[in-house]
C-alpha cells in the first residue's frame, strides 16, 4: 500500500476511517433518534448544547448528520457494488465476445446513457416505492454505463494479449479465461473507477432526496439539505452542516482513490509491461 506515502492518500484514508467510525457507531455517538422532536425548533448552532442547532421541527441536526453518515456510507458502498456487478459483467462479456453481442450490449449501454437519469429514477421509484433497495437499484442503473465502457476497453486490450492466447490454446474455457486471466489484470483501473463511483453514488442519493424522491423513513444528508433549503436565510445550519459532511466524505474518497490510481499508473509505466 505504497500510495499511503502520498499526503493526499493519507488524508483520504483518515477521512474514510472517520466516516466509517461515524457510520458504525452512530447510535452510540448520538443515541437520540434523529427524527425525535426533542427541543425548540430553529435553535442556532451551539445554543442550548445543540452543536449544530435544531431544524424547523426541533430535531437535532448533529444527530441527523451522524445517522446520515450511516445511510450515505451504506448506500454509497452498496450501489457501487451493484454498479460494479452490472457494469463489469456487461463490459467483460461485450469486450470478450465481440461481434453482434458486443454491438447489442454497447447499444444498450448507449441507451441507458441517453435516457435522462431523472426519468429512470422516477420510473423505478414510483413503480417500486422509494426505499433503500430501490434507491440503490436506481443509482446502479444510472451509473453503470461508464464502468461498462471502461471494463469493455480493458477487456478488448487484454483479449489479444499473448498469455490469453496461450490459455485459449491450452483449452481453457471462456469463463476460466475471463475470471483467471482477464479480470485480475483489468481489476486495478476498475477498482479505481468503482471507488470513485462510491462518491458519485453518495452525491446521487443526496440529489434524489433533494428532489423529494428519497426514502422518507431514513435520515440522509440529501434529505436534510433538501428540507433546510427553503429556510436557508433564517436557518442556514440545517443545510450547511449536512452539505459540508457530504462534501468532506466525497472529498476523502476521491483523495484516497486518486492516490491509489496515481500509484497504480506509476507502477505500470515503471514496469513498462504494457
Amino acid at each position: 500500500m505504497r500510495f499511503l506515502r502520498k499526503p493526499s492518500g493519507l488524508i483520504g484514508l483518515i477521512g474514510i476511517a472517520c466516516l466509517l467510525l461515524l457510520a458504525l457507531f452512530a447510535n452510540i455517538l448520538a443515541p437520540a433518534d434523529p427524527w425525535a422532536i426533542g427541543a425548540r425548533p430553529l435553535l442556532a448552532p451551539l445554543e442550548k448544547g445543540y452543536i449544530f442547532g435544531t431544524d424547523s421541527l426541533g430535531r437535532d441536526v448533529a444527530a441527523g448528520v451522524i445517522h446520515g453518515a450511516r445511510v450515505s456510507v451504506f448506500i454509497g458502498v452498496a450501489s457501487a457494488l451493484a454498479t460494479g456487478l452490472i457494469g463489469v459483467t456487461m463490459g467483460l462479456v461485450a469486450g470478450y465476445a465481440g461481434g453482434w453481442l458486443d454491438a447489442a450490449l454497447t447499444r444498450t449501454t448507449e441507451f441507458f446513457q441517453v435516457i435522462p437519469a431523472i426519468v429512470l429514477a422516477v420510473v423505478v421509484l414510483s413503480f417500486a416505492g422509494p426505499n433503500m433497495i430501490t434507491i440503490i437499484l436506481v443509482i446502479a442503473l444510472i451509473s453503470w454505463p461508464p464502468i461498462a465502457r471502461l471494463a469493455r476497453a480493458e477487456t478488448m486490450a487484454l483479449r489479444h494479449r499473448e498469455f490469453v492466447m496461450a490459455a485459449r490454446l491450452q483449452g481453457e474455457s471462456r469463463l476460466s479465461i475471463l475470471t483467471g486471466h482477464i479480470l485480475p489484470n483489468a481489476a486495478p483501473p476498475l477498482i479505481a473507477a468503482l471507488s470513485l463511483s462510491i462518491a458519485t453514488a453518495i452525491l446521487t442519493e443526496s440529489a434524489l432526496a433533494f428532489l423529494g424522491l428519497g426514502d422518507p423513513n431514513t435520515m440522509s444528508w440529501g434529505y436534510m439539505i433538501g428540507s433546510g433549503r427553503t429556510m436557508m436565510r433564517q436557518a442556514w445550519w440545517i443545510t450547511a452542516f449536512p452539505g459540508v459532511a457530504l462534501m468532506l466524505s466525497v472529498l476523502c474518497i476521491n483523495l484516497a482513490t486518486g492516490a491509489y490510481s496515481d500509484d497504480l499508473t506509476q507502477r505500470l509505466t515503471q514496469k513498462g509491461s504494457q
Partner: protein
C-alpha cells in the same frame, strides 16, 4: 486544427448560444407608477376560466372574466354583471337583472343571451361544481327588460353563493356557441368583460394584463398593468417579495417559515381577509375501512395524540388556527357547541387500552402506512410530526412518498391507510362540506368525494334537510346537530383551519375587497406608492 482554431470554435459556440431567438424580445412596459407585479405559481395551463378550474387559472383569469355577483367579507352578494336580484318567497325562483352597458373585450355588447348560453350549454359541460348546482334548476329563462330567472326544482339554501367569477363566469356566446369548447382557438386569446385584458403571455416567464379602456365603470380600473411573474422556486418567490420586484403575493407562494418573516418587513403588510369563500380545513385523512381505524375509539385516540397548537406554530408558523370540527369558523353555520379533543396522551392511551390493543415488547401496538402528500415541505414536516406523535401512543407510522399521480390514484381508489387532505368549503356547508361526509358521495376513482368511506344515516338526513331549506334558523339548528354527530364519530382527524393571508406592498391599496381575495378582479385596486 491547432489550438488557436479550437479556441475560435469555443468562443463561437458560446457566442451563438448567448443569442437564442425567443429570448431577445424583452417586453416594453408602461410607466412604472401604476403597475402591479405579482406572482402566479405554477404557470397556469390556460386562461380560459370556463374550461379549467385550477387555482393559477382562477387567480389570473378572475381579472378577465366576471360572475353575476361578488361577495363581501361576510359572504353577502354584491352587484357585478347583475345589477339587482330577487328571490321568490318559496325559494324556488331567483331573478337577476343583467347590466345592459357591458362590452366584451372585443367590443361586442354583453347580453342576456350570453348568461343563458353560459348557464345552459357551456358550464354544465365543463365545470363539475357548476354542473352540480345548475343541475338543481328546472328551467333557466330570459325575460323582458334584461332579466334572467333560475327556477329551482326544490329549494336550495346556498344557491345565491354560486354566482361568483369562479363558479359562474359569464362567457362570450358569440365566440363559443356551436363550437367544440376545448379546441376553440379563442382559448388562447381569452375575451371577458373584466377590468383587465390579456396583453402578452411569455411562457415560463410572465403574463401581462393591461387596463380595459372601455370598462363599464368609467374611471375604473385605476391600475394600468398587472404582471403575473412565473417563479417556480419558493425561496426565489420569497426573495422577490422581499426586494420589491414583486408587490403582491399570497401565503401559498412562500414557505410558511418565510411568510412570518416577510410579513414583519417594513415594506410589506399581511392582509387577513379574502379567503372566507374558500376557508379550507386540513385534516388527517383516515381510511375508515381499515382494521382498527374503523373503530371510533382509535380515531378519537389519534385526535388526542395530535398537538394541533404545535402544528400551527411550528409547521404552519402561525398561518392558520387549530381546527375543532368539520366546518371552518369563517364558513356559515359554524357552531362551538360540540365535543372537542384536547392534546391528552393519557386519554389517548386509555382509549387504545379499552380497544385491547396491548403494546408489544418494542412498545408498538399496531402499524399504519401514511402517504406523504407531494405538495411541498409543509406536508413533509406534518407527516414526520405525525409519525413522532403517534409513536408516543404506541402506533408505528411508516411514511410512504409518492408523486402527484401516485397520490391521486391512491386516495381516489381507497388504496391508503392514513394521509392528509383538504377541500375548499365555498362559504356554505352544502357546497363544500357535505360532499366529504354523505354516504351517496362514496364514489371510487373520484377525488374530493367521501374517500374515507364514512357513512351515518343521521348525518346524511340532516345534511339533505339543511340543503333544501332557505330558513336560516332551521339551517343553523340542523348544521349544529351535524357538527355534534361528526365530532363524536371523528371520521377524519381535523387539524388546522388553513388561512391564505395575502402579502401586500405598502404602495398598494384596496386590492382585496371581496371574499375571494386575490381572485377578485382588482377593480378598485390603486397604486399610491
Amino acid at each position: 486544427m491547432d489550438r488557436r482554431s479550437f479556441n475560435k470554435l469555443l468562443v463561437g459556440a458560446l457566442g451563438a448560444s448567448a443569442f437564442p431567438l425567443s429570448w431577445i424580445a424583452s417586453p416594453a412596459s408602461a410607466s412604472g407608477e401604476r403597475v402591479i407585479n405579482t406572482i402566479v405559481n405554477p404557470e397556469p395551463a390556460t386562461l380560459m376560466i370556463g374550461l379549467n378550474q385550477q387555482a393559477p387559472t382562477g387567480l389570473v383569469a378572475s381579472k378577465i372574466y366576471q360572475g353575476l355577483v361578488r361577495y363581501d367579507f361576510d359572504l353577502n352578494p354584491m352587484p357585478c354583471l347583475a345589477s339587482d336580484w330577487s328571490v321568490s318567497a318559496d325559494g324556488l325562483e331567483y331573478t337577476f337583472t343583467i347590466r345592459d352597458d357591458v362590452l366584451w373585450h372585443d367590443g361586442t355588447p354583453m347580453t342576456v343571451h350570453d348568461v343563458i348560453f353560459t348557464a345552459t350549454e357551456f358550464l354544465p359541460q365543463t365545470n363539475p361544481r357548476s354542473r352540480l348546482i345548475l343541475g338543481k334548476c328546472a328551467s333557466i329563462t330570459a325575460s323582458e327588460n334584461n332579466t334572467v330567472t333560475f327556477r329551482l326544482a326544490a329549494p336550495f339554501g346556498p344557491f345565491l353563493l354560486a354566482f361568483d367569477a369562479s363558479t359562474f363566469p359569464v362567457l362570450p356566446a358569440h365566440l363559443y356557441e356551436g363550437t367544440d369548447f376545448r379546441s376553440n382557438p379563442n382559448n388562447d386569446t381569452p375575451i371577458g368583460t373584466g377590468p383587465f385584458k390579456l396583453a402578452e403571455w411569455v411562457r415560463g416567464s410572465h403574463i401581462h394584463l393591461v387596463r380595459n379602456e372601455d370598462y363599464y365603470i368609467d374611471d375604473k380600473p385605476y391600475v394600468s398593468d398587472i404582471y403575473y411573474r412565473i417563479i417556480p422556486d419558493a425561496a426565489s418567490r420569497a426573495l422577490a417579495l422581499e426586494n420589491g420586484t414583486v408587490q403582491l403575493g399570497q401565503a401559498s407562494d412562500v414557505e410558511p417559515m418565510d411568510f412570518g418573516r416577510l410579513a414583519a418587513l417594513p415594506n410589506l403588510t399581511r392582509i387577513d381577509r379574502g379567503y372566507e369563500f374558500s376557508a379550507p380545513i386540513l385534516w388527517l385523512e383516515i381510511n375508515n375501512r381499515v382494521e382498527h381505524l374503523s373503530d371510533r375509539r382509535m380515531r378519537q385516540a389519534i385526535m388526542h395524540a395530535m398537538d394541533r397548537n404545535f402544528i400551527v406554530d411550528n409547521i404552519f408558523f402561525g398561518i392558520g388556527s387549530a381546527a375543532t370540527g368539520p366546518i371552518n369558523t369563517r364558513t356559515k353555520y359554524y357552531s362551538e357547541n360540540k365535543r372537542v379533543y384536547d392534546f391528552d396522551l393519557v386519554a389517548a392511551n386509555q382509549l387504545l387500552d379499552n380497544m385491547g390493543l396491548t403494546a408489544g415488547a418494542d412498545g408498538i401496538r399496531t402499524r399504519f402506512d401514511l402517504i406523504v402528500p407531494p405538495f411541498g415541505e409543509v406536508f413533509a414536516r406534518l407527516s414526520e410530526y405525525t409519525r413522532q406523535a403517534l409513536r408516543q401512543i404506541g402506533i408505528d407510522v411508516n411514511l410512504v412518498t409518492t408523486d402527484v399521480a401516485g397520490f391521486a390514484s391512491a386516495l381516489s381508489n381507497w388504496d391508503y391507510q392514513l394521509t392528509f387532505n383538504y377541500t375548499f368549503q365555498y362559504g356554505d356547508p352544502a357546497l363544500g362540506v357535505a360532499r366529504t361526509y354523505i354516504t351517496d358521495n362514496i364514489v371510487q376513482g373520484v377525488l374530493f368525494s367521501n374517500t374515507a368511506g364514512y357513512s351515518n344515516p343521521d348525518v346524511d338526513a340532516r345534511f339533505a334537510a339543511a340543503e333544501s331549506t332557505i330558513d336560516e334558523t332551521e339551517r343553523t339548528h340542523l348544521y349544529e346537530q351535524v357538527q355534534q354527530l361528526l365530532a363524536e364519530d371523528v371520521p377524519l382527524g381535523w387539524l388546522v383551519e388553513m388561512e391564505f393571508p395575502a402579502l401586500q406592498a405598502n404602495s398598494l391599496e384596496d386590492v382585496i375587497t371581496t371574499a375571494t381575495g386575490l381572485n377578485g378582479d382588482f377593480e378598485n385596486a390603486r397604486v399610491i406608492g
